[in-house]
């Protein structure tokens, strides 16, 4: 069978199963069974499929996925994260769209403590959205920032998906994690700028706080000093232990998870019930990711065995595209895929093609990795399969329609595309910090 037919069959069956409602992981497993039989030697191929599946998750480099998620979930379910958000809220006063700005800054703070985009959006949506709607904020300016800032957790360390990308693509995980810091902060700055400008131009979007509201002096700063600053100790423990060489990126995730739990004990917020909830939620989110990984590992081997990878790479090679055009093509594919499938599947389908292409063209893997992360982050927001839009729908009041959710996030998608363009033109934004670290 030629590589065109093999590629068409493999991707065709995969997409048909996915669109028929078969869970993504099982769609991959179905294609693997067929592919292993036809392209990997029948019975022997099926045996290889079983061995691949077991080995795929038995890797120490993947352990930060559950551990980074555990960090955020523990802070979320014990209520420590809510206290931090309340403390941030007290500090921000007399600005247009104040609560929307609180959601961006609070979400960015939480992103430094959590590796889970879902936990980030669920927490901000569950706490700030009802308050904003009660105070008369229009849904467009209330929901958009919350969903957009949820995606920042994917860029700013700790990030479970960055670890997975680094592990699968063979990019240094610590450099990729550090490389996401500047783009993540840049996004937060642009989000704040947009909210302020939009609310200034149209004050009806976010009614101003009534005069006299808020506190001043030590009362204003005390919650920040007590409830937020100590939490940065967790971020310092995670990133610092990596930078000084006490722990590998994998081990730093364990330090972060334990430090978060210790922090909740220090705040007297730890309860066994909350800890149980945090652990079960960690298991749920982590196993969703890991099982797709189990199911899709053989898929990249099938692409290789069937000749599809080599064939497609040779075809692209014939066009003699410059590295810039190659990167643009990769980002366009991810942005398109992001509309219909999840981030883990996107990685599993595209990385077998992208990484050899990038390597042959001499593209900096950290620069590319940060841009791929940002493109996938945009996929968290783009309809119809934007995961964070669905999380928002699950926490928003019933009268909010899905179309309103899509509409509210659109300006933030444009901002993220703008930042993506900036990183493309100014690679230092992604590789600067990792180079300083080296």
């Amino acid at each position: 069978m030629d590589w065109h037919s093999a590629l068409t069959i493999l991707l065709g069956v995969l997409f048909v199963l996915m669109l028929a409602g078969v869970p993504v992981a099982f769609a991959f497993l179905g294609v693997n069974l067929l592919g292993a039989w036809f392209f990997m030697g029948g019975e022997a191929g099926l045996g290889q499929l079983v061995r691949n599946s077991i080995q795929s998750v038995g890797s120490f480099s993947l352990t930060p996925i559950p551990l980074f998620i555990l960090m955020g979930e523990v802070l979320f379910h014990t209520g420590v994260a809510y206290r931090a958000i309340n403390a941030v809220e007290r500090l921000i006063a007399r600005v247009p769209g104040r609560l929307s700005i609180v959601s961006v800054i609070g979400g960015t703070v939480f992103a430094t403590l959590s590796g889970s985009t879902i936990a980030n959006t669920a927490m901000m949506g569950g706490t700030l959205l009802p308050e904003m709607l009660k105070r008369g904020y229009k849904p467009s300016i209330a929901m958009g920032p919350i969903m957009a800032v949820g995606g920042i957790a994917m860029l700013i360390p700790p990030s479970a998906l960055a670890v997975m990308l680094g592990s699968l693509a063979g990019i240094s995980i610590s450099r990729l994690l550090i490389g996401g810091i500047i783009p993540g902060l840049l996004l937060a700055v642009f989000f704040v700028g947009y909210v302020v400008a939009r609310c200034k131009l149209d004050p009806s979007l976010a009614p101003a706080d009534s005069p006299g509201q808020g506190v001043s002096g030590w009362k204003k700063w005390k919650p920040f000093v007590c409830d937020v600053l100590p939490l940065f100790g967790i971020f310092v423990a995670v990133v610092g232990s990596m930078l000084v060489g006490w722990a590998s990126p994998t081990e730093s995730a364990a330090i972060g998870a334990v430090a978060s739990t210790v922090a909740t004990v220090c705040y007297r917020a730890f309860t066994w019930r909350a800890f149980y909830k945090a652990l079960m939620e960690t298991a749920r989110i982590s196993v969703i990711i890991l099982f797709v990984l189990i199911a899709s590992t053989t898929f990249s081997q099938l692409l290789s065995f069937s000749g599809a990878t080599t064939g497609l790479l040779q075809l692209i090679g014939q066009y003699g595209l410059s590295p810039l055009w190659l990167v643009l093509g990769m980002l366009a594919i991810l942005l398109l895929l992001g509309c219909v499938i999840d981030q883990v599947s996107m990685m599993m389908i595209t990385l077998p093609f992208f990484m050899p292409l990038a390597s042959a063209a001499g593209i900096d893997p950290v620069w590319l990795g940060v841009m791929l992360l940002l493109a996938m982050e945009i996929g968290l927001l783009t309809p119809p399969f934007g995961l964070l839009c669905m999380v928002m729908q699950s926490v928003a009041p019933n009268h909010i329609r899905l179309t309103q959710i899509y509409g509210s996030v659109l300006p933030f998608i444009i901002i993220e595309l703008l930042v993506l363009g900036l990183i493309l033109l100014l690679p230092w934004l992604a590789v600067g910090l990792p180079q300083l670290m080296a």
Binding site: P23, V24, G47, F60, T63, R284, V287
Partner: protein
Amino acid sequence: MGDTGQPRNAVRSDGGLRIYRCVMVATGLVAAVLFAAMAMLVCLDVLLRNAGIMSIPWSVEVTEYMMIIAAFLAAPWLVYTNDHIRVDILLRGLPAGARRVFAIVGDAICLLICLALAAQSIASMLDSAAQGGLVFKVLVFPDWWLAIPMVISFILLSIEFLRRMACHALGRGEA
């Protein structure tokens, strides 16, 4: 992706179903406990190593086995709670009857996939056991042990997809 731990229309009064639900939730609980143990084990290793006391030589290897067990064992629990990622953009627009047909067909496809993988993983495990191969790292043990989580997982997944298919076919709504 609710954290309900059970399907909406489950018949809770039935003792058999209650036991079944407990088994499913227990698989998730095992994964949760393993993730917590993993955090403590790795952290302890880092602390002891940097304090110059000792290093735990088997910590990396045991962590890898914990990942395998957690990922395979909790997969049936996620099917039970309807939490595996699905692309349902096309199905959402269909009328209820057509959605039900797709649900039954989808469950049947998943059942076939899981039965095939259960059979293949059992065959692979028996083959390894017959050959008497060993895993030789810090810990030494028969390599067929590594296939046990996969065997258990796909047997439980087959049962769960069969249950879901029956529920959809009998018109019990969301399985």
